[in-house]
């Protein structure tokens, strides 16, 4: 944890009102982004972000500083978003069985089958496709590809090993590709 974060944490613990406001303002966009990507349309991102900060405030005395403050916040945000989705849906976004089975099977030609899609169309499909990804693949892909975290950071946020992140990310990409190709074949 850097000095700025350590100082901020100390001020929050001492009950300084402005310190908590500073924490929220410093991380609100990043937290909002990650919860909105993970929860999709299943829950209001601002509600989830707000819940994240309130949980963080309640648990700040337990934060030991072994990881970066934003990593700790991300961990809370990811769990909050997952809980929000679970509470809303009470079922997985999509059954594993419902996914197209072969996700990394190559097809003929060296160009990717998605290459023919226009950039905006691909972006729109990816946006929809990611909501169909089941957990934990969606969270892993969001943290790595959308949020740009390193594998080590993703592992720390999710509390899993690096190998698990590598494996999940590979499978997440394969599943997302399968979803996109499946949509491409659909009328």
């Amino acid at each position: 944890m850097n000095e700025a974060d350590a100082s901020l944490v100390a001020r929050i613990r001492s009950g300084e009102e402005d310190a908590f406001r500073e924490l929220v303002q410093r991380y609100e966009d990043r937290i909002l982004a990650v919860v909105s990507r993970i929860a999709g349309r299943a829950a209001d991102p601002e509600d989830l972000a707000q819940e994240t900060f309130i949980k963080a405030f309640g648990a700040i005395h337990r934060f030991e500083g072994n990881s970066a403050l934003y990593t700790w916040l991300y961990r809370i945000a990811v769990n909050t978003a997952r809980d929000g989705v679970a509470a809303r849906l009470r079922r997985p976004a999509v059954s594993l069985d419902a996914l197209p089975p072969s996700s990394v099977d190559p097809v003929d030609g060296s160009d990717g089958p998605l290459d023919h899609l226009h950039r905006d169309e691909l972006r729109a499909r990816v946006r929809q496709g990611i909501e169909r990804l089941p957990e934990p693949f969606r969270t892993t892909l969001v943290l790595r590809e959308v949020e740009g975290h390193t594998y080590e950071e993703v592992a720390s946020i999710l509390g899993v090993s690096i190998g698990t992140v590598e494996s999940r990310l590979f499978r997440a990409r394969g599943k997302l590709r399968a979803i996109l190709l499946d949509g491409d074949r659909s009328p």
């Binding site: 900060f53 990394v104 097809v107 998605l114 590979f170 990409r173």
Partner: protein, 222 residues
């Protein structure tokens, strides 16, 4: 495999931690080829020999390159997704919610403490009553409602003492005194005079006694 056998490109010079354990001599497949090369694209450490074999495999199987191209296109699309921004005043909203949450938590704590106090009081009462049971004494209003058969028992849960009971009920003073003397359970509240003259002076049977029983207030209409 040693650390120097691994590639570490794309990590800004920081050597990444080891992930999935991949052997250099692992049998090559399309899936392994794509997995290994996607790790390389992300700057993950992969055994150099495995990378060389995966590259050779991909050169011979262009479809693997297609999958990798799709992965790259998806990654680019994901990074291009619009970033949501918090609306102005979001921090104030969070602070207000925290205040509300804190007051709710205080009420919850108070309610919890009250519940604990009630539980402790109940437990204390149960223990006290169990370890120091009080004698069961009927309410005076209830004891007034006596029946003749009550004479056969000194206390509600005592055994029947027929001699004492009959002596108590019979009009013969001699027998009554002997019965009473034989029993320490004579009841001071009973009024034997109510049976005086009720007997014909002959042998008294238990049926006679029952006939002579004093009426309870409810039975005689009083």
């Amino acid at each position: 495999m040693t650390a120097s056998d691994r590639t570490d490109a794309g990590t800004g010079g920081r050597r990444p931690e080891a992930g999935v354990s991949l052997r250099p001599d692992e049998p090559m497949t399309d899936e392994l080829c794509v997995f290994a090369l996607s790790l390389v694209a992300d700057g993950r450490p992969v055994p150099a020999e495995l990378v060389r074999r995966a590259e050779a495999w991909a050169d011979a199987h262009p479809a693997c390159r297609g999958v990798l191209a799709d992965f790259a296109a998806m990654g680019e699309a994901l990074r291009d997704l619009p970033v949501p921004r918090a609306r102005p005043g979001f921090a104030e909203r969070v602070l207000a919610a925290r205040e509300s949450s804190a007051s709710g938590a205080r009420v919850l704590v108070l309610a919890r403490r009250m519940a604990v106090a009630a539980a402790l009081l109940l437990a204390f009462t149960v223990v006290l009553e169990t370890t120091h049971p009080r004698e069961a004494v009927a309410d005076p209003d209830v004891t007034v409602e006596r029946h003749a058969v009550d004479a056969f028992r000194a206390r509600p849960f005592a055994g029947d003492d027929l001699d004492a009971g009959l002596a108590e009920l019979l009009p013969d003073p001699a027998r009554r005194s002997s019965g009473a003397a034989g029993s320490a359970d004579a009841r001071p509240g009973d009024d034997p005079s109510r049976l005086d003259g009720a007997s014909d002076g002959g042998d008294t049977t238990s049926d006679d006694v029952v006939d002579e029983l004093p009426k309870t207030p409810g039975e005689d209409g009083r």
